[in-house]
Amino acid sequence: MADLNVTIGDLKLKNPVTTASGTFAYGEEFKEFMDPGKLGGIFVKGLTLHNREGNPYPRMAETASGMLNSVGLQNKGVDHFIEEIFPRIKQFNTQIIANVNGSTIEDYIRVAEKLNGLGEMHAIELNISCPNVKEGGMAFGINPRSAREATEAVRKVYNKTLIVKLSPNVTDIAGMARIVEDAGADAVSLVNTFLGMAIDAEIRHPILSTVTGGLSGPCIKPLALRMVYDVYKAVSIPVIGMGGIMNAIDAIEFMLAGATAIQIGTANFTDPSVSLKVIDGITDYCKRHGVENIVELVGGLE
């Protein structure tokens, strides 16, 4: 069987298959469907400094081969996570990675500081790309200067592996990746959701309470693949790829485009056990193609 271990900075994953922030809750919701301990890692739901109730309902609209969401980072705050949730989920035999959000650079710093002290968590994902919050979020990720500032600020207070999650809603994502690499990121993850909109023509009204939301699912896969491919060529830190991965072949495509690890997002909603099927499928692919070490596939287009 192929060796599936991959390394992102100092973070060691037993396989490249992880679950995307906001689509796997804290992992506990999936226990009846699969063993989270088999995953390479879990990127937990986005955390903010304080409790957030998120946006009003409706927060979701189905689209062709995808969905829009505008959850808006609903969570009980980082302290609640550290005290109540992490002690439970760190029992899973896998890497737990927090997804760090803020409305200001100060917020990002405070959340990262708190997580820096958290033993047994070896990486955070800095989300500068959430399209569903008014202040902060994507605003940081689409502006080169603030992307740099946020990364540098968090780098100063966070000593372990720092992954920066990039927004696809930019002209030049490779340039953005280079900027956060310069600013001290150990890895980049991409893509977050694409800004989109749905309208109910019968009532002449936007479907989402927030008018616009973030598009995810198989519809965005070709766009995400292109971005992973461009970023991989532009930086020398590892790339974590995601966007519409539904099965093992999709995952392999992202790795061939340059991803060292992948995240599964929206697919968890329609098949909560999909991530384990992806691991099995990757193993099969490696066998069929004589791949002994999964890292051979990373950026392995011919």
């Binding site: 809750a25 469907f33 309902y57 409706p58 927060r59 979701m60 995808g66 929206t266 909560p272």
Partner: protein, 258 residues
């Protein structure tokens, strides 16, 4: 305990042009299903319906491992589920959500609008088991919206009202006489249906000081607490998931403007 399970289509009963019961049969045993619980169904062979669709469990036969689901066609998913082949596999995630609370004693009133009656057959069965006397009030725009009145009448007296008067009393449910009779000592009102109807029922229940539980049909992406898309606001201003904290809520806990 919730699970993903494959069923096979065992048959259909068409109730009218756009409503049907679908019977789904499994080879595995069924878990315990409480009234109000729902299932997330994957529409098979139609990648155009990307997300699963939530439906109340209308009826269950543990011996023969059969679930009945009542479906009203409103879009692509509900249409596609109505034309599967006998024996075709269908994947369900279920049982999901919470259940209704059952008072020590009755009588209780169940008010359903159109397809909102779906969770109330299992509730009626449970009430009967617990010897709690139930009255049904089924409402719709026309008689076409009322289904299976005879089935429900095994579990309580059934009143009907339609806006056009084509069945039962003419008018909206909240105008029905059974609600006007102040001497009827209902211990609980259960409701499911269009939002405006449920809110009108909730208002009435508050006026009459009767506890009221509503089953909400919010749009869902997952159905099991993973996405946080299905929220409703509570009286304290918190957003809670309808799929895990609901779908049944005591209306006094909701931030409804009533």
């Amino acid at each position: 305990m919730k699970r993903i399970q494959d069923f096979k289509v065992a048959g259909y009963t068409w109730l009218n042009r756009d409503s049907y019961l679908i019977e789904l049969e499994s080879e595995q045993d069924l878990p315990g299903i409480a009234p109000g619980n729902f299932a997330e169904i994957k529409v098979p062979g139609n990648p155009g319906v990307f997300l699963r669709r939530p439906f109340s469990i209308f009826d269950v036969d543990y011996d023969y491992r059969v679930l009945s689901i009542f479906i009203k066609i409103i879009g692509e998913g509900t249409r596609a589920l109505g034309s599967l082949n006998q024996g075709q596999p269908v994947s369900l995630i279920y049982p999901l959500g919470n259940t209704f609370s059952i008072p020590e004693k009755g009588p209780v009133l169940i008010i359903a609008g159109g397809s909102g009656m779906a969770p109330f057959l299992l509730l009626g069965k449970k009430l009967k088991e617990r010897s709690v006397n139930a009255t049904y009030l089924l409402g719709g725009r026309t008689s076409e919206d009322l289904h299976m009145i005879e089935t429900f009448s095994d579990y309580g007296q059934v009143f009907a009202s339609t806006e056009d008067g084509s069945a039962g009393t003419q008018g909206v449910v909240t105008d029905h006489e059974v609600l006007k009779d102040k001497t009827l000592p209902f211990r609980m009102i259960y409701t499911c249906g269009p939002d405006p109807m449920m809110k009108a029922v909730a208002r009435l229940a508050r006026q009459r000081n009767i506890p009221c539980e509503a089953s909400l049909e919010h749009m869902m992406a997952c159905g099991f607490g993973a996405c946080l898309c299905c929220v409703t606001e509570t009286a304290e201003g918190k957003n809670v998931c309808v799929c895990t904290e609901g779908p049944v809520f005591n209306v006094k806990n909701l931030a409804w403007q009533i």
